[in-house]
Symmetry: C2
Subunit: 374 residues, 2 copies
Amino acid sequence: MEKTTKSNFSFQLVSKDGSARAGLVTTPHGAVETPVFMPVGTQATVKSLTPAQLDEIGVQIILSNTYHLYLRPGADVIQEFGGLHNFMNWRKPILTDSGGFQVFSLGNLRQISDVGVVFKSHIDGSIHQFTPESAIAIQEKLGADIIMAFDECPEPHDRKYNEQALARTHRWAERCLQAKSRADQALFGIVQGGIFPDLRSQSAEFLTSLDFPGYSIGGLSVGESKEDMFAVIEVVTAILPETKPRYLMGVGTPYDLIEGIRRGIDMFDCVLPTRLARHHAAQTLHGRINLAKAEFARDHSPIDPECGCYTCANFSRAYLRHLIIAKEMLASTLISIHNIFTLTSLMQTLRKSILEERFETTAAQLLAGLEKTL
Amino acid sequence: MEKTTKSNFSFQLVSKDGSARAGLVTTPHGAVETPVFMPVGTQATVKSLTPAQLDEIGVQIILSNTYHLYLRPGADVIQEFGGLHNFMNWRKPILTDSGGFQVFSLGNLRQISDVGVVFKSHIDGSIHQFTPESAIAIQEKLGADIIMAFDECPEPHDRKYNEQALARTHRWAERCLQAKSRADQALFGIVQGGIFPDLRSQSAEFLTSLDFPGYSIGGLSVGESKEDMFAVIEVVTAILPETKPRYLMGVGTPYDLIEGIRRGIDMFDCVLPTRLARHHAAQTLHGRINLAKAEFARDHSPIDPECGCYTCANFSRAYLRHLIIAKEMLASTLISIHNIFTLTSLMQTLRKSILEERFETTAAQLLAGLEKTL
């Protein structure tokens, strides 16, 4: 199939099965087999895990947040270290978001204009401004392999606001392309438009005309229905070029991953596996398990007998429950290892099924085993 | 030199240099080269570290606390799992204390008699009793390779109390020997007697007459002066048999480790490396570093350029400070790895110097580099 190259970045569509795709993203820090789940390292650390542990899990690429790193430790500090890879000692690919989603999530702490967004730091209340130009400049200092355009993230059901915001997001996308100066980073455009198929179509078409090396779908998994989310994904992936990777932002339940891949998505990220771990919940392909429950006090079995992760190979539910009850940090570490491994190996399973042209069978079996749509 | 064997446990005195000793402790879970520093896994976890990380650091043996495990998750639970090694997935030797020190530290929450100690749980206020017999029974359920006699731990400067307590500790030592039923665990006697050389002599002589496979020195590093501590160690090690290991309980600063080894100590434990890590302090052989300080915000160097640990090989002081300021759990993990590695490799350095008969030179160089007596 076709191959698109832009500087050091390329995407190869290796195989298709229905709309599901197996691909290969190549970056200056190595290749990523898609579909891929990216764990989130908000503050230059995937919470409670060392880079060595992420490597052992089989993580290929992580995401980090521009908003948080800009505030702390500051983009200049990270630039001084030669970028985020050196700073946090993660030698594989990194993707940064633009800060857009975070500053729009600040609610009353921010003000929007065509110039950009003025916002108050959630840490100390200090005043800052992100513009398309500054969001790119900061991401160039951070030095991730894949960076994001600065976009506006409106409430998905508000038609009028979405129309206005989309026009601005498109103007900002052009300014981001203009502002970009590093050849070794791939800038993705972000499709917006809320739950409205016509706005989403318009956005996908406009951004495709700008010829980004990859496309994100933003503004989903923020409270809309599953039907609305999947309808939007179908509209958008039908328009986006086959030769570019598609990244569905902020999505990370097994159900949504499977349904996203079925509709042609290649990349996903979510804080869910590490956040669940800190709240004592283990993610399996048969539902979530609250390991704090008394019923696990003497349970000799691992979280998931079918799982091949370090945690399941070595520790019982009883031990994990003991760590939780005793408020030991190791609980978060061990459950995070399991949760990320679960999603990482789910991606490998689905990729293999695409290569072997049996995606629908595999997906149906997996979906039947899931508890509801989690 | 001589070798003492008691069931599966043995101690071989490999070499002496002055009073400093290089030895080999053999247990059912493998051998331990001495002198050795044992990290503390109070609640069946060395805080924030996986067993795989402890292995990589080079840790040979860990300590765990009977008092804490008895209360949570309960000795029966751990016995059901075939003991602590299985429960926490640590495959190398384990030493458990008797709970004595912890229950005596409870102050007003406990009552002492010849029978034992009645105490209130620090967790829920429930009432419990430890006796010499129950302390052994619990440790047999936990299944450590080396277990401790149940002793009374008085304030070290109170002569009258120490006389009474010592008589009781000696009676309890005999009861512990009587109560012991497992052949695959080595029971150490604990020398007490506060800061009083004559009481310490009396205790060392009495316990030696009971022929334990190893001896602990308890009740030190609890507020007495360095002079008193070292004087007691000298009195005791002059009496204890050369053919048995000597374990100085609760000691873990580089200064005290070096001075302890110089006086014939083989084994040490302390919570200090992991506790310091949780309070942002890195231990080096040139003093402690508070990594939270602003001066490290852009410091590219590792904690210690001469250190060979995972943390120093891969992370800067600036990154560690960032994790601390951002309240990220990974800070504790990475600093704990460094702190335990520092003490573990200090022990290896000193063992080598003993084998090569240059202990005093090595000790003098190390002591000259230390900041004060930390």
